[in-house]
């Protein structure tokens, strides 16, 4: 497969995962805002940091402006419409490599979002619109699995998806645990506390799955254990690292590249640490530096992937 094609498929997938994440996060926060508006500043602050975007000016219409900024603002490269446009552009470059069903689904989703405006969704429930975006992306993933050959290109799509999810979830966990646990004085408002933790789970689409394992008895350690180390939840970091490693192993097997050792080792190390680490040790040390380290490992894997398959130096490729 051409390196350019692999690159496009990988980024198509990352942008879609990013758009879905943004839609879910915005949806959860707008929803919670309805009940405890007095903590708005804290919430928005957390949302900005979770998405790694600069804070907007606070004010009465902040919810409206945040919604506009994260959905339809084409000047914001992290907005839903920008992510979908980037995903579509990547797909367009490799239209012959993906199935027509995939192209049509992505094209339809993009055109629908592009035709909508914040004025139109604000009064008619932003939730309906945001749910539509999530559905559209999940439908695309289903169509991809059902219609595309599960060969090299499909594995690159999976690497992109799980790479993005690992990185987004790690950031989200970092922001929440920092602001909820490391605040000096203990929380006096138990209901706010509870809602914040539920918000974190919902932001990861993992509330129900969590309850199935731990019941609705919400404890920060359990949430950390679930989102970091659970082997079965598709939203946990451990699961994502496992999927990423599997996909990378398949790519190595298909391409028979001889110098793929580095990317294999890096992916294997991330997976192994999440396989065997203990939650009490993680929380006993610094949760922040643990998550920072995961981010660092993701960047390393990403770089190694590009070094081996996509932007490898020519002299290396000629001698290997």
């Amino acid at each position: 497969m051409l390196s350019r094609v692999a690159d496009s498929l990988y980024w198509m997938s990352r942008y879609l995962e990013r758009a879905e994440h943004t839609a879910r996060l915005l949806d959860v926060n707008l929803n919670q805002m309805l009940e405890s508006a007095q903590y708005a500043d804290l919430r928005w602050e957390r949302l900005y940091r979770s998405l790694r975007i600069p804070a907007l000016e606070s004010g009465a219409d902040e919810a409206y402006r945040v919604t506009q900024y994260l959905t339809f603002d084409t000047a914001n490269s992290a907005s839903i419409v920008s992510c979908l446009a980037s995903a579509r552009e990547n797909a367009r470059q490799v239209r012959e490599q993906i199935s027509s069903e995939m192209w049509e689904q992505l094209n339809r989703l993009y055109l629908r979002v592009k035709r909508t405006s914040v004025e139109a969704i604000w009064h008619a429930q932003p939730h309906v619109f945001l749910a539509g975006v999530k559905d559209g992306i999940q439908l695309f993933q289903g169509v991809t699995d059902a219609t595309m050959n599960h060969s090299e290109g499909w594995h690159f799509i999976r690497v992109g998806c799980y790479m993005e999810r690992t990185s987004q979830t790690a950031t989200l966990l970092d922001v929440h645990f920092h602001s909820l646990l490391e605040i000096q004085e203990p929380f006096t408002n138990a209901s706010l506390d509870y809602m914040s933790w539920v918000g974190l789970l919902r932001s990861c689409a993992a509330f129900e799955a969590f309850c199935k394992v731990y019941t609705a008895n919400i404890q920060p350690e359990r949430i950390a254990e679930f989102l970091l180390l659970n082997a079965e939840s598709p939203r946990s970091l451990r699961f994502a690292a496992t999927m990423m490693q599997n996909a990378l192993q398949s790519i190595t097997k298909i391409t028979t590249v001889r110098n793929a050792g580095r990317v294999e080792r890096l992916a294997g190390r991330l997976r192994a640490s999440l396989d065997y680490d203990q939650i009490d040790e993680i929380l006993g040390g610094s949760m922040h530096s643990y998550l920072e380290n995961i981010q660092f490992q993701c960047r390393q894997i990403n770089e190694a992937l590009y070094q081996v398959y996509i932007t490898y130096p020519i002299d290396v490729a000629l001698t290997s």
Partner: protein
């Protein structure tokens, strides 16, 4: 001077519906003889059209349109809104060519391509035809597609032009003539193949009742032609199709052909040259490339050799080509042989290299570097067609009878500023074929572009792209200018 749209109403035969609006004129009619009798090969189609209801035809037309839409068979129109994608209008009714007519076309094009290939070899080597004064030296060296870099270079099997699409028209006497040769990167073959697929789906019975020669093997024939160019010592060559990318008007065709042949569709940035060897960058490492079917013009192929601002090409490609490590189809510099001024010399070129008379005639052409021709042309701008010599796709053209005084003045000035850049031809009555338009069947002007492959031998798939000027009275068949297309049937037997 022939005017095609002035019908002589005095002897107009009246035809039954749905042909009530079908008027014959001086142009050759593909379906009817004088007096309104259907020609022999069209008789069955004619009968069928008399019997079918217009609703049925409408339904079939819609089915055909939907088929094109779903497959995304589109082209891009330049100018106007950024990259507007359009479906190329498809006319439901086939254009029929008898085996006898095809036999002449096939022989004529084979002769023409063979001679033009010899001409290119001669021009880029000793230049005998120039030394003997058959073709003026100045004409060749002033051509903007002449490439000095090709001088003295030997190309594999001396094949300069591997893929050709020549435009034929039918004159009022029924004979085919060559209007243009396209020897650089001719397009349209995907529409020929797609039209046939759609035709077989919407008119299976009619199609089955005619004995039509198949064209589906074009992809394989193209692949074989490209493989025949592989450098020696490369028994299992890697062949790729080089596209300018998604913004090119023929991008659909590039993806279509790559899929038909099962070869990689690459862009310039996927290729690199190291030690005069071309590689493509794959996830499995660098892979050597042996043959490039390039759909990029010479100018953009290699920024080191040609246009420096081109980002579509591959730096170093020309050197790899000169070293014989990679083959290009078509070769660089073939555009001199389809220069519209050089076109006038093709019959002489055929005579010179093959000692034969041209089987397919040329259209009368005025070279404006000749004073008497120039004078005549400027006097008769309102009757002639003027074309810029290096343009294609219907751009840079003046059609005298349909032009305004302002346009004629513009061309007069442009011609006087650079006479070498223009030629003039009489306004010709292209033949007309029946088309299904707005619930009626009416005649429209058509041309024919067969696709010629020149590998170990010349192969022409029996068919071609019949382009239709859908606007009433219009003579311009180009897709960018309101043209459409038809399926073209070459019959097995007379």
């Amino acid at each position: 001077m022939i005017r095609s749209d002035r019908s002589d109403t005095s002897e107009q035969p009246t035809l039954p519906p749905p042909f009530s609006n079908y008027h014959l004129d001086i142009a050759y009619d593909e379906m009817f003889r004088e007096g309104g009798m259907a020609r022999l090969p069209y008789q069955e189609l004619y009968q069928r059209l008399l019997e079918l209801s217009m609703d049925t035809l409408h339904q079939r037309q819609q089915a055909a349109d939907v088929a094109f839409l779903n497959q995304g068979i589109t082209f891009t129109v330049y100018g106007g809104d950024e990259g507007t994608e359009r479906i190329w209008p498809y006319d439901l009714l086939p254009r029929i060519i008898t085996s006898g007519e095809w036999e002449v076309i096939e022989r004529g094009l084979t002769q023409r391509i063979t001679a033009l290939n010899l001409f290119l070899k001669d021009i880029y080597h000793e230049g005998r035809i120039l030394n003997e004064g058959i073709v003026p030296r100045a004409l060749v060296y002033s051509c903007k597609h002449y490439r000095r870099e090709m001088q003295g270079l030997n190309v594999p099997h001396d094949t300069y032009i591997s893929i050709v699409g020549s435009d034929l028209i039918r004159l009022p006497d029924g004979a085919f003539a060559v209007l243009e040769d396209n020897l650089r990167v001719p397009s349209g073959v995907s529409y020929m193949l797609a039209n046939r697929q759609v035709m077989k789906n919407v008119f299976p019975a009619l199609f089955g009742s005619y004995d039509v020669r198949p064209i589906d093997h074009y992809g394989q024939a193209l692949l074989n032609t490209l493989a025949s160019l592989a450098p020696l010592m490369r028994p299992d060559p890697t062949i790729v199709l080089l596209t300018p990318g998604v913004y090119n008007s023929a991008y659909f065709e590039h993806t279509f052909l790559a899929r038909q042949m099962g070869i990689e569709l690459v862009e310039g940035r996927d290729l690199l040259v190291h030690d005069n060897i071309v590689y493509m960058r794959t996830t499995g490492g660098l892979r050597r490339v042996d043959v490039i079917y390039r759909r990029i013009d010479d100018d953009f192929l290699d920024p080191l050799a040609f246009r420096h601002d081109s980002t579509l090409g591959v730096p170093g490609l020309l050197n790899a080509y000169r070293a014989g490590n990679v083959s290009l189809a078509n070769a660089i510099g073939t555009g001199i042989a389809d220069d519209k001024a050089l076109y006038a010399y093709v019959p002489a070129i055929i005579r010179y290299y093959l000692g034969e008379e041209a089987i397919l005639p040329n259209v009368e052409t005025y070279l404006l570097t000749d004073d008497s021709h120039l004078h005549y042309t400027l006097e008769h701008l309102d009757e002639l067609v003027v074309k810029a010599v290096g343009e294609s796709g219907g751009y840079g053209m003046l059609i005298g009878p349909y032009s305004t005084a302002v346009q004629r003045e513009e061309f007069r000035r442009a011609i006087l500023a650079n006479p070498r850049n223009y030629i003039a031809q009489p306004t010709l009555a292209l033949s007309r074929a029946p088309c299904f338009l707005d619930g009626q069947i009416e005649p429209r002007h058509v041309d024919l572009r067969p696709f010629i492959l020149n590998g170990d031998r010349v192969t022409i798939v029996p068919g071609g792209l019949t382009r239709v000027a859908l606007r009433r009275g219009s003579l311009i068949v180009n897709s960018s200018q309101g043209g459409g297309s038809k399926d073209t049937w070459v019959l097995q037997h007379e």
